[in-house]
Amino acid sequence: MDEFEPKIVAFVCNWCTYAGADLTGTSRIKYAPNVRIIRFPCTGRIDFMFILKAFARGADGIIVSGCHPNDCHYTSGNFHARRRWIVFRSLLDFLGIDVRRITFSWVSAAEGAKWADLVNQTTAEIRKLGPYTSYHKISKPEEEVIYG
């Protein structure tokens, strides 16, 4: 059997983390190829449903990252996002959803190395946790309900 390769989606803000990941590239720092980035203008734009949708579509792990507090390009987007995450994460945890699979992070445009570390650490962590079978199982279109 093939070794499990985690599928990880990263939701990142344009101004800090996306640029930070650019810097990782410019610095030629190598990291695990398991992460796919989706660009947002701001962490404030990241709807929590996107996280759920990514899990439902087969992601094993998720990275959500943006500007450090006080660094938001739009002043407060990351502060609002942080509040939402605090609440959302506690709800997910309460429902038994594996919050270890969601890495929230601040990565600035200057933190190319941090981005590489973040990706590597998250990939290693998810690799350890294995595929997110319990969520994927309920998401499969093939699953049939016989008696509801």
Binding site: P141, E142, E144, I146, Y147, G148
Partner: protein
């Protein structure tokens, strides 16, 4: 076939059930867990709870599941392939301990799903389902099967109907070939039936209104539809617990290249049910939707399908979050107690 009566001693009941379970069919029966009584897939007789008045949800899910896959598809730029559901994979199923109201509901569903063209999903499920009914020992204030021309000992819809008689033994009325087939599996458990008056062993539920009266009084305009329904919150509970409500929606799950088309329950109580894309909604207000619910069951279905869309199980009233009691309203419409 000619119906035949048998006796099933109470001590044989567990063996009866467990033999059926071992026979490879899925067996659903009422269970009680945390005060919740529901039909569930059973493995042991001990899970079954028969002293119930009514379950929250009906047995319609077995023949008309909340989600029914209609087909799967894969598609790319130039090809679309539709993969049929193999109806042979639908399991043989036994519903054990359903009350006569539930058993009778399949007839109503059948009328809808065979009107002009046959819905094979429903029909296959129905054909593969054997209903072992159980006459009612008790009723509550929500029950009104006698008012919709059924009764607590009615064999309508049951392949076998059990009635608990003296000494907690069961009178088994074997009504159909499907019932006969089950009977044959466990023939040795049955004894010849004694002469009993079945009605003495079922609950006595007075008739509270007359269906024909009701139908005669129903009118689109002029009734207090609004007064009756103002309390209504526009949820779909009544329809989803109803054994005869059969409205559905068709949805695709997946994306344009891979997925399935499913049928899922829907309800006329939600405004979206009839909402046009243009924004126009023929049944915008709740009283219009409430009227549709009552008219559909007691006027349109009898007119078009020759069945009444109600078996008097009272589930909608019990489940209603704001105590809209359909019996109360039907009595009001039909003009009082009979």
């Amino acid at each position: 076939m000619t119906p035949q009566n048998k006796l099933l001693k109470k001590e044989c009941l567990p063996t009866f059930v467990e033999t059926l379970v071992k026979g490879g069919k899925l067996l659903y029966a009422p269970t009680k867990e945390n005060e919740r009584i529901e039909f569930k897939l059973i493995e042991n007789f001990s899970e079954i709870y028969l002293d119930y008045i009514q379950t929250t949800k009906s047995i319609k899910s077995i023949v008309f599941p909340p989600i029914e896959k209609l087909f799967e598809y894969v598609a790319d730029k130039e090809h679309v392939e539709i993969k049929d559901v193999n109806l042979n994979t639908i399991p043989e199923t036994i519903v054990f301990g359903a009350h006569p109201c539930d058993a009778a509901s399949f007839k109503v569903l059948n009328a809808v799903f065979t009107w002009d063209c046959n819905d094979e999903f429903f029909l296959t499920r129905k054909d593969k389902t054997t209903v072992i009914g159980l006459s009612c020992k008790n009723h509550d204030d929500y029950c009104f099967c006698t008012s919709v021309d059924l009764n607590p000992g009615s064999t309508e819809g049951s392949d076998i109907l059990l009635t608990r008689i003296e000494n907690d033994n069961y009178l088994a009325e074997i009504m159909t070939e499907k019932g006969e087939a089950v009977y044959k599996l466990v023939k040795n458990l049955f004894e010849p039936a004694p002469q009993v008056d079945k009605n003495a062993f079922v609950t006595q539920l007075p008739k509270l209104f007359d269906l024909n009266d009701l139908r005669g009084k129903l009118s689109f305009e002029g009734l207090s539809w609004m007064q009756q329904s103002l309390r209504c919150l526009s949820c779909g509970t009544c329809a989803y617990v109803c054994p005869t409500c059969s409205c559905f929606d068709i949805q695709d799950i997946g994306n344009q290249t891979k997925g399935k088309r499913v049928r899922i329950w829907d309800t006329c109580a939600l405004p979206q049910f009839t909402l046009h894309t243009s924004g126009h909604n023929p049944r915008h207000f709740q009283n219009e939707r409430w009227r549709q619910r009552i008219m559909h069951k007691f006027s349109y279905e009898p007119e078009r399908l020759h069945v009444y869309g109600c078996v008097g199980c009272g589930r909608c009233s019990r489940a209603c979050p704001v105590n809209i009691n359909i019996l109360e309203n039907l009595i009001e419409i039909s003009g009082g107690n009979k």
